[in-house]
Structure formats: C-alpha cells, structure tokens
Amino acid sequence: MTTTERHPIRSAEAAAKQGSPSTAPKKRKRISTAEKKRRRAGWLMITPSVIHVGLWTLIPVIATFYLSFTDYGIFEAPKWIWFDNYVEMFNDAVFMQSIGNTIWYTFWTVPVSMAVAVVVAVLLNQGLKLQKFYRTAFFLPQVTATVAIAMVWLWIFNPQYGLLNAMLETIGIPGQAWLVDPQWALPSVILVGAWQGIGIKMLIYIAALQNIDESLYEAASLDGASSIRKFFSITVPMLKPATFFVFIISIIGAFQVFDQIYVLTDGGPANVTTMMTYEVYRSAFQEFRMGMASAQSVVLFAFLLFVTLISRRVTKEED
C-alpha cells in the first residue's frame, strides 16, 4: 500500500486528480431556496436575542475585564495599570472581610433555605387543605421587592418596637439590637436571606416531586416502609437532579446578595455585614473607582465560575 493509498485525504485528492467518478469529492450540498428562506428566518428570529446578549452581556463582560486592569475614575479616560487593582484589593482588609462574609452568608443561607424548602415542598405535595394558599404564601417573598421585604424586617428587628424582641421578651429572653450589634447583624441578615430564598426552591422541588413515579412509593408501602424511610430512600434520591440545580442557583444568588444589605445594614456595623457586591457598589458609586469595582466584579465572577465548575464536575454523572 502506498502512502497515498493509506492516507484518506490524500487518496481522495489523488482520485480527484485522476477524475475517478467514484472517488471524486462530494459536491457541496445545494441548499434549496426554501431552506435558505428557513435559515434566514431563523437568523432573523434570533437576531434580537443575539443583539441583546451582545449588547447587554458580552460587551459589558469584556469591558469589565478590560477596566479591571485600569485606573478609571469616570472623570478621566481609563489608564492601564496592569494588576494594581488586584494587588490593592487583596491587601484591602475590608474587601477580604467582604469575601469572608459572603462565603459565610452563602454557607448558611443555601443549605438552610434548601432544607426548609424541601420539607415545605413535601408537605405541600401531600394534598393539604389550603394548599394553593400556602404555596402562594411561601412563594410571595420571591416575587416581592427585596427593598419592601427589608423594610418589613427592619421593623421586625427594631430593638425597641420590633416584633422579634417583643416575642422574645414575652418568654423572658432579653431583646437584642439585631442589626447594629456586631454579634447579631450578620446572623440577622442571613435569616432574611434564608427566608427569602425558600419560595423559589420550594417551587422547583414541588415540580420535581410531581415527577416522581408514584409506583415507587406504592412498592415501598407494600414492603412496609415508613414515611420517613420513604422520604430518605425514595424522595431524597429522586430529588437529586433538582437539588443540584437548586444548589447552583442558590449559590449564585447568595453570592450576589446586595439589596438587603443596602437597605438593612449598609454593610455595618463596622463592616461586619458588608458583602462582595456591596463593596463593588461602594467602589463604583461611592468612591467613583470603576476600575477597582471592575476588578472586584471579576473576582466575584471567578468565585462563581469556580463553584459552578466544581458543581458541574460533581453532577457530571447525574447529567
């Protein structure tokens, strides 16, 4: 066998040179006019979306990466400073504290709200009376503006007139200055975050629960399994794909917490509740340092990318 014969591409080229009809390269598939129209229509239909993504996502993302390497104070043109923003950022005690706070906030809000959501979803999937009312009630915080929610919680946490202290005092527990005491401020914010996140998670879990084959429960019942056993041996494993999905979106949501910090604590007292997003906001709109804000955004992006990649790897088999 010659070299040409062994090499498929070269063989085809050689055949083409010889003019052999059997080995001639395939003619380019002729696209019919109808197909062309169909493709054109397809492009036309996705054009708004492409423009939207390009304009509002792609360009800002590229610009953020670029600006993160510049000293840009809005009043003057950006000046390229390589990694200075990153060096300053990682030497900034407040930003490092915000990273710690964000991780701590995520660590508590995500599992707590997921655990509560799955329990609530299971309960609401039992055909209770007023089921629709409860579903709406649990989902309401999700569709209510965070600022409005935060205002309600401001009242609940008020040390003098707040509901929480009033309730505690009725059982003899002294009230706290929830949002201004450094020991309680972050846990208070975490409580609000966990509570607010229950609704959407519950909704996803309910949808997943309704896809579980009833025959599994029937078979388990025939085998004499208790409700708790069925929950842990059937419900929880069958909810695994939904759980991973909820986990990812919850982490992303938790890392992006901003509104409730903005309204409830302003990052205080003494920065104990400041978060990465809040520091981005402060750099951009209080200090007018867009370059630094961009660098902080890139770090936030890197965190989220890392978490998502890890989760993808973990869930690869499930996918």
């Binding site: 104070g73 809005i74 009043f75 003057e76 407040v94 401001l154 008020n158 040390p159 003098q160 002294p174 009230g175 706290q176 200055a177 929830w178 949002l179 201004v180 005491d181 450094p182 302003d266 990052g267 205080g268 007292p269 003494a270 920065n271 402060r282 951009a284 709109f285 209080q286 200090e287 007018f288 340092r289 867009m290």
Partner: protein, 432 residues
C-alpha cells in the same frame, strides 16, 4: 446666652441692612453680568436631590418653575428628581454617559470632586464672583461652593447639626440649662440616663445613634477644636489629639458612662428619641423642630438647642448648592435657573418645605426663620458652624468614616487606632 444670641441677631440684622445697599443691583446670587430674559432660551435639565416626594414636586412644579417661566419664557426645564442616597449613582452615570444635567443641586463636600475634574462650570466666568456671594452669605458657606479659588456653586439651603436638650427632663434632674462644656454634658447625661431594674436602657442621657456616625463624630470633633484636614487639604487632621479626644468622648459616653447603648436608637427610627422622650439630650438635625411640630407640638417648648462646647464650639453644617455643568449647551439658561433657585423667595420656599436653614443671611428675618426656633438658632450660630469636605477625594473617603467610628464605639479598636487606620486610608486616597 440669651444676651449673646440677641447681640448676634442685632449684628445680623445690621449686616443685612448694610448689605441691602450693596445688593440693590446684585442681590442673593444675582450676577455682575445681567441676563436679558428675552434673549435667554433653550431646554435645560435639572438634577435635584431636594424637591423629591409629592410636597417637594408640587412646590417646584406648581409654584417655583411657573415663576421662573414667567421671567424666562423661552427656557424649558426638565427635572430629574433623586435623593441624596441615589445622587452618587445619578451623577456617576451622567458623567460616564456624557449627559451631565445642565443644573445640578449637590451637597456640601461634593463640589470639590466635580469641580476638580472639570464637570462644573466656573461661575466666575458666568459672572458670579466670590466677593458678590460673600455679600449675601457667610464666608464659610461661600467657601463650601469654591474650589481652587474659583466659585462653582451657589448655596440654597443648609442642614445643620447641634445639641438639643429636653429641658423638662433636665429640670427634673435639677439642671436649668443645657451643658456648656463636655464635663457638664457627661454629668447631665449620666444624671438623666434611666435604666430598668434589669439594666436595659429606657432613656439615653445623650443620643448620638440616631444621627449618621460620621456627622456625629464631626460635630464632636469641631467642639474639640479639631479639623478634618490640614489647611491645604493634603493630609487628614482628624486623628490629631483633638480628634482622638472627640472619638474618645463618644466611646466613653457609650462604654464608660453608659448613657446610651449601641442600637438603642438608629437613623431608621421613625420618631426621634428627643421627641418621644427616649433621650434627654442628643445631637440633632435642625429639622427636628419641624418633625416635632408634626408629631407632638406640646414638646416644642421643652426642646432647647445648644452648641456643643468643648475646647471650641461644635456645630456642623452640610447643605445643598446649585451648580452648572461645564458642558452645558445653554449656559445662560442654566445660570438663570441657578440664580432663580438661589434667590430669596425660591430658596425660602424650598427651605420651609424641608424645615431647613436658608443659606442667605438676609432670610434670618423672614417669618419662616423667626417661627422656627431651631432654624433661627442655626442661622444665629452659623459663624461657629463648620462643614465637612476638603480634598477632592472627599466623596471617595467619607463612607469610610462610619465604620471607623463604629469600630471605636464597639470597642473593636481604640479611638487612636480607629482614627489612625482611617487616616491611612484617607491619605492613600488623597495621594492616589
């Protein structure tokens, strides 16, 4: 004190009378170069953090702007309302997008940054000079609108902070007048603090928590004779001995004398603790009078303003000033609006609506000022009032003050450490 106050009032009236002659041609913000209303035309935009909310909008749109249009029929004003909380975002996006409003109302301490970066028009080039303004306003107020020797803003209203005492509570405790020194302040605060049997605070002797931590510190700092920055605003001066003493006093009031607990009051409180009697004394904003008028008129007679007296007299003023964009396409129309908004009638109406202190000295005799004891008190003591700001980086660093002050109050750092750390941050920003 009464005599001193009367003397000040008499002096102020005399000054206004004298100025009246000089201001015949160029009163309150009126420029050396007169505008011909018929020749001034164009569409301009106004960005304002005051006049927000229904009463403010009604005042601006139904009363003030119609008056302006009467005088300048060929000018159209598009108003963009915001609050001070959102003004940063508005201005930032405006500057970045190149769509800077023609006329911008902004706060004391804001002018330096925007003037330094060339966003604001030098009003001197539009015919408004420092000397002209100083005929109508106190020097310190005019200087709040200046940068690098040039005038960039005309004051409209002031927000002042000073001490306020509930005299009914003080009298119960055996004191006939507000404190005239730090020592007296501590003594009266301790005497009027009330705790329940389980130790929980029921009444604060001296409230500092219902005010922004930075502004509370600045008021005490000024009373200690301290300053925020050195004379040429190139270095922080708030970590001086006076500054440490000021923050030390605040920390001691909370931790040593226990006249207020962290969280006992907050800036979010709906009713000021001085109105509902949860505090015997405190640092308050001048609009406390208006708040009390709306909440409980009976308390008005018991509210006594006082200048916090340490090594110096401590009174703080911020405020709202009118500026013109450097790239305004209709600078004459913008100047006309600026002059209108800072004119006596418009400024008085705006101040009355917000319960604020008119910047114009001549308005001391107005019915509004004479009927509002706190505003009157503030105007009579403007000569001792000091403002915040200084370097062009002030807006960048002012947000760092509250965490630093809170850190000291919470005992996380000593006053010296808190202020030194803050000073290092501020110096880095100035040097950047």
């Amino acid at each position: 004190m009464e005599v001193k106050s009367r003397m000040r009032r008499t002096a102020s009236v005399a000054m206004v009378a004298l100025l009246g002659l000089g201001l015949a041609a160029c009163s309150a913000g009126e420029a050396d170069t007169d505008l011909n209303p018929d020749e001034v035309s164009g569409e301009i935009s106004l960005l304002t953090p005051i006049f927000e909310g229904s009463p403010g909008q009604d005042l601006l749109e139904d009363e003030l702007l119609p008056q302006f249009y009467e005088e300048y029929p060929n000018v159209t004003v598009n108003v963009d309302y915001t609050t001070y909380g959102n003004l940063n975002e508005k201005l930032t996006t405006a500057v970045v997008s190149g769509l800077v409003p023609d006329v911008m109302l902004m706060g004391v301490g804001w002018i330096e940054a925007f003037a330094d970066k060339g966003v604001l028009a030098d009003l001197g080039e539009l015919g408004l000079s420092e000397d002209t303004l100083k005929e109508s306003y106190t020097d310190e107020i005019v200087e709040a609108g200046m940068w690098d020797g040039n005038v960039y803003a005309v004051p409209i209203m002031l927000d002042t902070r000073f001490g306020v005492a509930r005299m009914d509570i003080l009298k119960e405790a055996g004191y006939d007048s507000p404190p005239s020194s730090w020592e007296e302040l501590i003594e009266i605060a301790e005497a009027t603090t009330v705790r329940s049997s389980n130790g929980s605070l029921e009444r604060a002797g001296f409230d500092m928590m219902s005010l922004d931590a930075r502004q509370a510190f600045e008021t005490i700092l000024f009373s200690a004779g301290g300053e925020l920055f050195n004379d040429d605003a190139t270095a922080p001066a708030f970590n001086s001995d006076e500054g440490v003493a000021a923050l030390g006093l605040m920390a001691d009031l909370v931790n040593k004398y226990e006249v207020e607990d962290i969280g006992f009051t907050s800036t979010d409180d709906i009713v000021n603790p001085l109105i509902n009697g949860r505090a015997a004394m405190g640092i308050a904003h001048n609009n406390l009078w208006t708040q009390a008028l709306e909440a409980d008129e009976t308390v008005l007679d018991n509210l006594e303003p006082f200048v916090i007296q340490g090594e110096a007299s401590g009174m703080f003023f911020g405020g709202t000033l009118a500026t013109v964009a450097n790239n305004s396409k209709n600078p004459e129309a913008a100047r006309a609006l600026l002059e209108f908004l800072s004119s006596p009638d418009a400024a008085l109406a705006a101040n009355e609506q917000r319960g604020n202190v008119p910047a114009l000295t001549e308005l001391l005799d107005s019915d509004y000022v004479q009927s509002n004891r706190f505003v009157q008190f503030a105007m009579e003591n403007l000569d001792v009032a000091q403002r915040e700001g200084g370097p062009s980086q002030w807006l960048e660093v002012r947000g760092d003050f509250a965490p630093a002050v809170q850190g000291a109050l919470l005992g996380q750092k000593t006053p010296q450490e808190a202020l030194d750390d803050l000073a290092a941050l501020v110096q880095t920003a100035i040097d950047r």
